[in-house]
């Protein structure tokens, strides 16, 4: 069963994005020519939602199904069972205009900033791509300037190529691109795990500011509980294709009930514990 505890948001409001009873199965390759194709259940009866303006975290170790759920949430994969909703409507039964609206409103920041920008495109060209692709009728130059200011970069970046930037700057640019079409939801998949420690803090702060200033909904996917806890106000813990626990980060830390949460909490190393000599116990 799916545990849903401590839902902070009002229950009568409509979540901006929600997976309801989502299951996802993959067919594995045949082991022999005429053999049956085995099925892998990557998600089993998953309920997950985010309210407008809310920052929600999704944690779990690799293989827990959080990547699969991410692909379902961004509309890349159609779940084999259950419903993926945007503003209360099934994403997969939307008409063309509705689908475009969904594409535009839900944007993604991926893990690896080095590969999330085309090395042969200048940053300026990369930034306007979403506007072109989604046929959004705004002045691209003004929008680019606005977005760059929001992520704390100058217009001098526009004529440069990705290899001229550090990882942290590239992740800012990737966030800027996600902001271009005025999204309502930003889904960030491990946005800091490829970055240096001092840069991680910058990017996490930026995401936090964007949620506060632009009223964005943030879904932050990470394997590191402390990263998620710092950025979000509600966290869902995944294990073996299910959501096993949901709650406020501080509660999850202090009183983890699910085994998977306990394992994640235990795995967090801190400098203080290390100095006490208790880190590896």
């Amino acid at each position: 069963m799916t545990a849903r505890t401590a839902d902070t948001a009002a229950t009568d409001a409509v979540p901006i994005i929600a997976a309801r009873g989502v299951c996802q199965e993959y067919k594995l390759a045949r082991k022999s020519l005429f053999g049956q194709r085995e099925r892998l259940a990557a998600l089993q009866d998953v309920d997950f939602h985010a309210m407008p303006g809310e920052a929600v975290g999704l944690v779990g170790e690799s293989g827990s199904g959080k990547s699969t759920l991410t692909r379902v949430l961004v509309g890349r994969e159609r779940p084999t069972a259950g419903v993926m909703e945007y503003e209360g409507r099934d994403v997969w039964s939307l008409d063309g205009a509705g689908r475009r609206q969904f594409r535009r409103s839900v944007q993604v920041v991926l893990q690896n900033p080095r590969s999330s920008l085309d090395p042969r495109m200048t940053v300026g060209v990369s930034l306007v791509q979403p506007l072109r692709a989604l046929h959004i009728d705004v002045d691209p130059k003004a929008r680019v300037r606005e977005v760059l200011e929001q992520v704390g970069l100058g217009v001098d970046v526009l004529s440069k190529y990705p290899h001229e930037f550090s990882g942290g700057q590239l992740q800012r640019i990737a966030i800027a691109r996600a902001l271009m079409p005025h999204p309502k939801v930003v889904i960030a998949d491990e946005p800091v795990s490829a970055l240096d420690v001092s840069i991680q803090a910058q990017v996490l702060n930026l995401l936090k500011d964007l949620v506060a200033e632009l009223g964005l909904t943030l879904v932050l996917i990470a394997h590191d509980l402390s990263v998620v806890a710092y950025t979000t106000s509600r966290v869902a813990v995944m294990s073996a294709g299910r959501i096993v626990e949901t709650g406020r980060p501080a509660d999850l830390f202090r009183h983890p009930t699910a085994e998977a949460t306990q394992a994640l909490v235990d795995s967090v190393l801190t400098v203080e514990k290390g100095l006490e000599g208790s880190a590896l116990l």
Binding site: Y26, A29, S67, T70, R71, V74, G75, R76, E77, R100, R103, R104, Q107, V108, L110, Q111, N112, P113, R114, S115, S116, L117, D118, P119, R120, S126, Q129, P130, A133, L134, H163, E164, F165, S166, G167, A174, R177, P181, S193, A194, L195, D196
Partner: protein
Amino acid sequence: MSSAAEGAMTSHELASGGGPVPTGGVGRRVLGNASLVVGVVMTVALVAVAALSLVWTPADPNLAAPADRLLPAGSHGHLLGTDALGRDIASALMVGARTSITVAAGAALLGVVLGTISGLTAAAARPVVSESIMRGVDILLAMPGIVFALVLAATVGAGVGSTIFALTVFFVPSFTRVVRAAALRVLAEDYVTAAELYGRRKVFILARHVLPNIFSVLIVQFTLYFAAGILTEAGLSYLGVGVNRPAVSWGMLLKEAQDTVGVSGPLAIWPGLAIVFAVLGLNMLGDGLRDVLDPRLRKRSS
């Protein structure tokens, strides 16, 4: 599993090594690469000689002069001597260079264009289409290329056009494979995932993201197949199903020299040297370009 799922999984990169790597710049890498420099010089020389033959040759390579039969190299008016019918060898080699370049570069170019189309399709299309293309490629690759070209030339008829055609058919399957592999690598990148998520169509992604990023692969492959084309064309012409007089080809010159090899060895040596020169130059150019344009490729293909 779908290519989308694969893409999301291969994007995992390790946390360190994220900083900008100082590279010496393209200019420095070009000059530091001996193979590339030598390759460029040899290839430019080859093309220059071929171009020169359009406006000037020491003599008409098809003009027989029985009085000047089998002159040795260094004879007056005949830098490399003459053949059994007294035709100027240097002139024949110059015109032969032109034929080699036309046939080999033409076939390589056609091969790249067709191979790119089929390779990109195989990389991006639905599994049914993709599998069909790749199995077709397998079938074509299973046939010995030279035999295939022989049969083709024999049925279509010998000549520059049919040789190009035969070589193209011979090249397209390998190109398709190379392009598909390179395109799959690009399609797995996060910027392609991002483009799909903001609603870009497959065709746009192939044209604007994949093609520019595999361009260096195409250039390198073109150069290497250019060299292979010269070799194969020479082989076909030697066997008599390629180019024939009044056109001149190095392979054809070799065949002619075969009859007189007992009388005059150098006759066979000159076209042989020309082939070695051209192929070596292009291969060095290709290897050099590969190192400069795409250092990652070097490890993979060697």
